[in-house]
Symmetry: C2
Subunit: 344 residues, 2 copies
Amino acid sequence: MKKISLKEVAEALGVSKTLVSLVLNNKGSEHGISVETQKRVQEKAKEMNYYPNLVARGLRTGKSNILGLIVADISNAFYSKIARSIEDKAAEAGYHLMLCSSDEDPDRENDLIRLLKDRQQVNGIIVSTTQQKPETFSRMKKDGYPFVLIDRYLPRLECDQVMVDNANGTSKMVEHLLKTGYKRIALITISPTHLSSIRDRVTGYKDALKRNNIKVDPKLIREIPFDDIRNSMRKEIRELLSPQVKADAVFLLNNNLALSCLESIQEMNLRIPQDLAVASFDDLDAFLLCYPPVTAVSQPMQKIGEEAVKLLLEQIDAPPSRQSRIAELETSLVIRKSCGSYLS
Amino acid sequence: MKKISLKEVAEALGVSKTLVSLVLNNKGSEHGISVETQKRVQEKAKEMNYYPNLVARGLRTGKSNILGLIVADISNAFYSKIARSIEDKAAEAGYHLMLCSSDEDPDRENDLIRLLKDRQQVNGIIVSTTQQKPETFSRMKKDGYPFVLIDRYLPRLECDQVMVDNANGTSKMVEHLLKTGYKRIALITISPTHLSSIRDRVTGYKDALKRNNIKVDPKLIREIPFDDIRNSMRKEIRELLSPQVKADAVFLLNNNLALSCLESIQEMNLRIPQDLAVASFDDLDAFLLCYPPVTAVSQPMQKIGEEAVKLLLEQIDAPPSRQSRIAELETSLVIRKSCGSYLS
DNA sequence: GTGAAAGCGCTAACAG
DNA sequence: CTGTTAGCGCTTTCAC
């Protein structure tokens, strides 16, 4: 069974390609094609197992009905949940998804954008960027190319974005820890440090302490390179617990850090929260099942995906004059026992 | 900055499109185009920021350099790890990925295949199928369309496959449990039950018991619909622990079941392994961190992805006479404390 | 109501 | 060494 083309359907019916195309795109009636003819065409197409070649249509119309998604790593639960939500929301509008992982490499990200945009594979891109400079995106904006930033924004770049209240989410967590009785709250963050999400979380941490008249102790803030988490974590924890630092709680700024931290704590035979209370940004299924279950700032992954698609489709369909829009979503504090009562 | 086409580059240089195309596709030398001219073309293309339109090229050559991936749910860790591995391996060969979740719905899966294959979006498909009948795939095979089944196969369908030793993996686990001292090993499985992976696991369970001269007790085998795991789990566990059944260990046949089971056990305030030992097919990051850490059959996700891409690319590049190949990968038993010594 | 013809941007056979 | 030409399969304008 060979691939059938429009032409072959037309020939089989003894009509023109135009007619078949019109009918199959439901423009039959608006062109006054008789109902009878329409039916004949529909039936023949079905009978011949005809499906239009989307590549050809895409070339002709400039519309592939595919969206691009670029994230750091699709195997990270945070991104894979968002991806699923994007997929579903896009499907509602007849779009499908090309998926790319940038591995936090700005050059690779740029290559991917080139692939998706300049080589015209997709009609718009959703990206959790790892760039430091706005150039790539300001160029896209100037070109009028539809894109939406999620999770991370770039300073001085006005564009459609879906962000969560990273600073506020972190502040809420720090204040919860303070209220519970923790006094030496450590922060483990990740490099590259230029990521807005991470920066804002660090800011939120500092602000919360300041608001509570607690001096920020640089010894309590630790930075681990994203591609060497496992090796560095244990050392950092040991130092946090040393007499010079004496942390009593640690806040991990993303889910990879948290997973690794929990592992290390387990290997080191430390008790949570007695030896060290633990909290994480990003909630994972796993956190509910840990012992003790881990308190976390939870991000609305599904909502992030939905909003991103909504904004992207708006751009694709909208006049170029459309204003940029920013969706700022709330995080929520999920309190579990990993930073339970200080004395328990 | 508008999109530049091949024609425009050619005109800017005062040469033909052919020349530019040849040079940019590195076929310059083989057509004896002077090095000098080649250089001029390369530079001009770069200067004008020219990138070929892949849709046009795809239409002409019939090659989109995109692969399709269809899984039940990309937000499931098992599939997202595989997806990442596929992405990386495909990228090495210059391919990118379109991603689709079927939600275990055979009709949706068929629609997706139609989209990807019949509408000519991709050059080959990797699929974890949810079909019961081989028709879709035998048709694809007859059409000579490249595809690889992963994770689940179909009886009486000869095609490229990447599978793990589900029966054997399960057997190993059951035997480990028996050796540790458990006598009433329950199985929680999932419907739809026609999935080969699940069926083989059930078979592996029964075989292991038989080999050890233990009668299979149907009361110990429980089936939960995949889209209602949460609601059913608690009831099943309660029944397993009832005096009529008296299970002392439970083996969950996939990661979703295991997550839900652990949650229920926690809510019910049961102790693992004293009240009930727990083991899972599929290993998750979370299992290491649970209390106690969960024993699991671990699948080689990365290897699955790599093999699948390898086979798919072989098909794409190979003569139609190529024989189907099956990659059968090993699982490994990861023993943790959730089914520790029976008496501990 | 229907059809002819142009053309999206590219590649490749063929000609010179 | 380089150019001409013919499509890939589709949509869409315009003409009848």
